[in-house]
Amino acid sequence: MVTPPLARPILVALSSEAQSLRLIHAGCRLARDRSAPWIGVYVDTEGRRGTEDAEQVQVWMQEAQRLGAEVQTVEAPTLAQGLADLTRRTRAQALVMGRSRDRWPWARLGHSTADELQRRGLDTEIVILDDRTAPLEKDIPGIRLSAMVGTFLVLAVCTGLAWLVPREGNLSLVLPVYLLGVTLIAHRWGSAFGILASALSVLLYNFLLETPRFRLAAYHWPNLLFFLLMLLAAQLMIGLLRRLRDQAKEVRRRELHTASLYLLGRALARNLGPDDVAATAAEHIRRVFKARAWLLFPEGAGWITRPADLDVATLPAPDFLLPRLVLGEQVGDPLEPVPVGDSLCLSLTGTDQSEGVLRILPGAGEPLHPRTWELLKAFAVQIALALERLRWLEEARKAQLERATERMRSTLLGAIGHDLRTPLAAIHGAASSLLLPGDVHDATRRDLLTMIQEESDRLAHLLGNILDLTRLESGAIQVQKEWQPLEEVVGSALGRMERRQGVLPIRVDLPEALPLVPLDAVLIEQVLINLLTNAQRHAPGLDLDLRAWHEPGWVHLEVADRGPGIPAEFQDRVFDKFFRLPGSGEGGVGLGLAICRAIVQAHGGRIHAEGRPGGGSSFRFALPLDGTPPAPPEGAESIPHGGTR
């Protein structure tokens, strides 16, 4: 069923245990080294596993598949049986397997699956990964002078203590002293020194402490027994101690990894933009790996780097780097970053696409230890997911905006459909009745013509509003602020209204000492006209008030009327597009105030409506006095001709 394509495959025996991940990586690495296919295999020993285990196995199988393995599940009475069968069937060249964590030491003496496989005479290499130490770690301490000296010192102290013990029948008192010393040595300087110390202890005891003194008397059988016990006990204890120490180390390392991942994840979750993500990632990577980090985002033929303090010109082009990273991900070492120049690069791949590249520059003189790659990879995944989350948020926001625009468009069509048709119908009707044959009464003719003019004014006004709002919202209108007296824009707004409507009952209250205000006269004039028109509409014929005052940094304007006022629940909504107060009857389309808000906000100001004490409503807006006001002319006569810079 498995036809060996080029080379004999490599089998990786998977279980539900966590070390399977390491087996997968080792298998993948081995397969790449030997250019051989590899198979992840799970031996199901007749339903002994629970569903939870089955799920976990499924996870490892998927991971193996992701890294290019073929996966198989074999049913067999024992693990060894299943593996042996499959190895024969596929003519596998190597079998990668782990050793179970909770096996007692004596189980290793000829009863492990590996031993059993060997007994079955398989023509295959068996690679066993010990779960106690990482496969890459080779901590063999050399013969060091300090250890040597230490060992002798400890033994000297032990001998000194033993010397104090009274002669005859002293073995039971001397033994623990040496046992302690040897254990200490083995724990501190390794098992080689432990064995050395054991041998030396026996000689010392025999030579110095046992009668006859200063003679080696190895023929005494209690001495031989002592020798044996000593050695065995020491070795056992050393083994246990080392194992404990390694496990504690591993637990500490994993705890550290988990904690740093947790911290990174939590910090990334708070980030609102790629800049923040990059800053957080760089900070955490610097802290954990003592290396500098950048995020690279492809932009055309170059990169955008964040943080931006990186010379982009030194980087290979995205067209070159990205495929290499993806390739490295697929065929290369699953943990190994791709070296680019003196830095390492990792592809930031989220769930569906590349989000960018993580570039790591290790600190001078200390390359990243391969043991940290696993964590680095996990960091990259976290960062990629954070970027992906941001991208999705942005996409969701865009989609929402589009929906809102769409809704606004349909509301617009609905609202203006009616408001455009009414004046058009009136104009059309009036014009056609003027064209009827026969005399039209002079007064009637005037009426009809006046109506045509008024209705077309309304149309022009409505269209103007729609255009203004669209352009304000799309940012097509640039606010051109110029410092000017408020009086001028108030004057031009009132002038424009009164030239059309005659003198209006508007009380104006502008203090003498108002400062110059930076504003766009055309736009603010429009705000004032819209607010005044709105007030006229809701308080027809009643007096209006237009006031201004200023505080440091701001100038305030208010248009207030004595109309029916705005119910409190609508005071914010009146500035919404197409919002009309219920029961307000004829009037605008509900764009005037929306335009006001857009203009005021474009000036960096704020606008709101509120009830007026004593009845009526008040619309207030504030404009910021930002920037430096221009120097005022110094007295009327002192302005030099032509030299007013």
Partner: protein, 232 residues
């Protein structure tokens, strides 16, 4: 004297259909062109007394047409422009256009602008010595300004600004033009000086400075002095 000849360069037919009878009804002679090329050719062959020029023409930029017209003719040009194009208006005015009308405009407004523009060509730069409007009277010969019979004291700069406006009575003056005329070359950047002096003039010469009758602001463009003249 012959009735003045007005050339309309406007591509929209509806507008031409409104302009031609309106102007003919006022006894002006009217010519019309729908493209810039045609308009320029007509201007050369007929030498009209006034040109109504639309800035948005299909074949050429209106600004280019204006420049070419100005290269050989001093006759008034009134720009027809859409709303919200203050920048274009200012550019056209600074390029030598005499005035502008923002669409949509009414017949009365159109005729008033044309009258003012034509009057200015007839009495080139000779401002009338005595102007009266409402309670305001300005005597350019005696350099005396009075409001409701009381003499108003103006500073030298205020007077120069008033003079510059009076010379253009009824026509719009851009910020740049007024600054150059009153403060001399190099003063163009100080629009706020102009605004402050306008505020001072209004305070002294308007009955209610927040409802100016004479010193009209054209937002983001400039100012227009609006004094009744005996000719109107």
């Amino acid at each position: 004297m012959n009735q003045p000849l007005i050339l309309i360069i406007e591509d929209e037919e509806a507008l031409r259909r409104f302009l031609i009878p309106t102007l003919s009804g006022q006894r002006y002679q009217v010519l019309s062109a729908a493209t810039a090329t045609e308009g320029l050719a007509m201007a050369r062959s007929h030498n009209p007394d006034l040109v109504l020029l639309d800035l948005g023409l299909p074949d050429r930029d209106g600004m280019g047409v204006l420049k070419e017209l100005r290269s050989w003719s001093r006759k008034p040009v009134v720009i027809l422009s859409a709303r919200n194009q203050e920048r274009d208006k200012v550019r056209a005015l600074d390029q030598g256009a005499d005035d502008y009308l923002a669409k949509p405009f009414g017949a009365a407004e159109l005729l008033a602008r044309i009258r003012v523009a034509l009057r200015h060509t007839l009495q080139t730069d000779v401002a009338e010595p005595l102007l009266r409007s409402g309670g305001l009277s300005i005597d350019l010969e005696r350099r005396e300004v009075s409001l409701d019979g009381r003499i108003v004291k103006l500073t030298a700069l205020e007077y120069r600004l008033l003079e510059a406006l009076v010379r253009r009575n009824g026509k719009v003056a851009t910020h740049r033009q007024l600054l150059a005329e009153v403060w001399g070359p190099g003063g163009e950047g100080n629009t706020h000086y102009l605004r402050i002096y306008m505020a001072m003039l209004r305070k002294k010469l308007e009955a209610d400075p927040t409802r100016p009758k004479h010193f009209i602001t054209e937002p983001n463009v400039g100012y227009r002095l609006n004094l009744e003249t005996p000719g109107d």
